[in-house]
């Protein structure tokens, strides 16, 4: 029996031990990684440069669309806002508009204004959280602390209206669930004015910061043509110079009565993409102030809905501008209390397609800056 000279190491099954290429290296970023969130990005690097990137979402795929088929139109509300709990009003908005269209119910004027205020407050809450994570991705701890602290102001305000911190389930077909509390207008105006003053200070510490500019400018540049070709939406699209905001282009509820401006930047790099949401927050403060002024001081807050409403034999597709971009809801209904098929067309999933495109040719260290500037929330993309 010949003695074995070279010891063979027992390897776990499934590993490739032969033909190991030493030039291109494959890296798994996530799902447990400080710079990935709830998803995995498989990147192939040559030295320090990314040559290929393959996003692997689905770690939070909970089958919301299948679940919606076995629940009726009202019981669908709580789980449909879970994909983005910190933007729950906006993610629910297209679904509610669709159900109202199918059931055929008119919304009172005051409820429309309350909806707009709640949606804009929620947009600020979402963007503040996004900004905090962007700060911590870039190693800027102050930018984590400031937005998460200021965000609590608006969360308090939403808690006063709806009774919940993040998962509001506030919009229902036919209006909103309950009226705003007494002297809400004064409190809201005061908080929003203070909030606006605070977020203007972010420019000094974050957006005019030379370190941030050095890290994000000219990284992950998305040209105007490519932004359109890839079908991106929201802040990614507007940072590339396309003027497209559904609040202006396809006004829903009372957005056509308010003076809404949109923010467009031409650069298309990570810096522009990180700046657009911040400008959106300032714009949201303007919209809230206008809506508070124009809101009818009294009146009905919801139209009575008959229990277990049935849709008509039709399909509807409604979309709104959420904190990340266009959020659409496609409902195919038969004459039953449950939707036949419900599809959420969410902006995170639409922006994900830009990620492999943008990462190619970038340095590996720029990956978090590019990835989170896409205004991406993995739970929403997976649904």
């Amino acid at each position: 029996m010949a003695e074995q000279v070279i010891p063979t190491k027992k390897m776990p099954p499934g590993l490739q031990v032969e033909n190991v290429d030493d030039r291109i290296m494959t890296l798994n970023v996530g799902p447990q990684h400080p710079g990935s969130g709830h998803m995995r990005i498989i990147v192939k690097i040559d030295g320090d440069y990314i040559v290929d990137a393959d996003p692997d979402p689905g770690y939070v795929h909970r089958g919301e669309e299948k679940m919606a088929e076995s629940r009726n139109y009202i019981t669908n509300i709580p789980h449909l806002e879970r994909p983005v709990i910190h933007d729950s009003c906006n993610i629910l908005y297209p679904y509610i508009l669709g159900v109202e269209d199918l059931v055929g119910i008119e919304v009172p004027e005051r409820a429309k204004y309350v909806r707009v205020i709640a949606a804009e407050l929620n947009r600020c809450i979402y963007i503040q959280y996004w900004l905090a994570i962007y700060g911590i991705f870039l190693g800027h701890s102050t930018m984590f602390m400031w937005p998460t602290g200021d965000r609590e102001l608006l969360i308090d305000l939403m808690e006063k209206i709806t009774g919940a911190r993040v998962t509001h389930a506030y919009f229902i077909p036919g209006g909103v669930r309950n009226d705003v509390p007494a002297n809400f207008e004064d409190v809201c105006l005061r908080q929003v004015n203070y909030f606006e003053k605070r977020i203007k200070e972010y420019a000094d510490i974050f957006y005019d910061n030379p370190i941030l500019k050095a890290r994000t400018e000219d990284t992950g540049v998305l040209s105007r043509e490519d932004a359109i070709r890839l079908g991106t939406t929201g802040s990614v699209l507007r940072a590339s110079g396309v003027d497209y905001d559904l609040r202006i282009k396809e006004p829903y509820d009372v957005y056509d009565e308010l003076d809404v401006h949109t923010n467009v930047l031409k650069e298309g790099d990570s810096y522009a993409r990180s700046k657009i949401p911040w400008l959106d927050m300032l714009e949201s403060c303007n919209i809230i102030r206008q809506a508070l002024e124009k809101m009818p001081k009294s009146g009905s807050i919801r139209k009575k809905l008959k229990p277990n409403p049935k849709g008509r034999n039709d399909e509807v597709y409604h979309r709104v501008e959420s904190g990340r971009g266009s959020a659409g809801c496609h409902i195919i209904s038969r004459e039953k209390p449950e939707p036949y098929r419900l599809k959420l067309s969410v902006s995170s999933f639409r922006n994900l397609i830009a990620l492999p495109y943008l990462l190619k040719g970038e340095k590996l260290g720029n990956m978090p800056a590019v990835y989170w500037s896409l205004n991406y929330w993995p739970v929403e993309a997976d649904r």
Binding site: P57, K66, G231, T233, K249, G328, H330, R341, R350, D382
Partner: protein
Amino acid sequence: MSTSETTPPPKEIPPPKAAPPEKTKPPVPAFEKSYVDQITNQFSDDVEVEYIKENRTRVNVKKEKIAEVAKFIKDNTPFDHAESVTGVDFPEDKEIGVIYHLGSYTDPTYSKQVLALATRVPREENPNPGNDSTKLQSLRDMFYSVEFHEREIFEMLGVYFEGHPDNRRLLLPEDWADLPPLRKDFKNRGR
């Protein structure tokens, strides 16, 4: 103790219910009709207009012609990207529907419009995704943004897209061996 006895006020006769307004068909919006007509004029027999509503139109296309129609839309109308792709299962008709929602960023007059381009593919009782007759031509060459949406439809309903470079799994776990979950014969626990 009050002695006054009040007679109950005479019941008001409710006004006769107004006759329900006659359902009139809403007029067909002209602008929406104009671009749908462009498509129907080109492909007279192969397309069928499902509805023309305000800002929303839907055109049903035969599955062999879907790539051709999409190419025509891409070249001749301002629709430049796909917003979402919905797959629907119709077990009674033994078909699976695929609906592309197209939108436009470049032309401001079209920014409200969503054109739904729908088609149906045959459905197999025992699906074998990728190797059965449930196949459709991919629109990735025309509308690049459908790439991930089509991957999602492939795993959720088993529609194989010919011409798509990677019909791989996207959201489901790697070891998923059950039916595609959005088919109607796949049931959730306890439902």
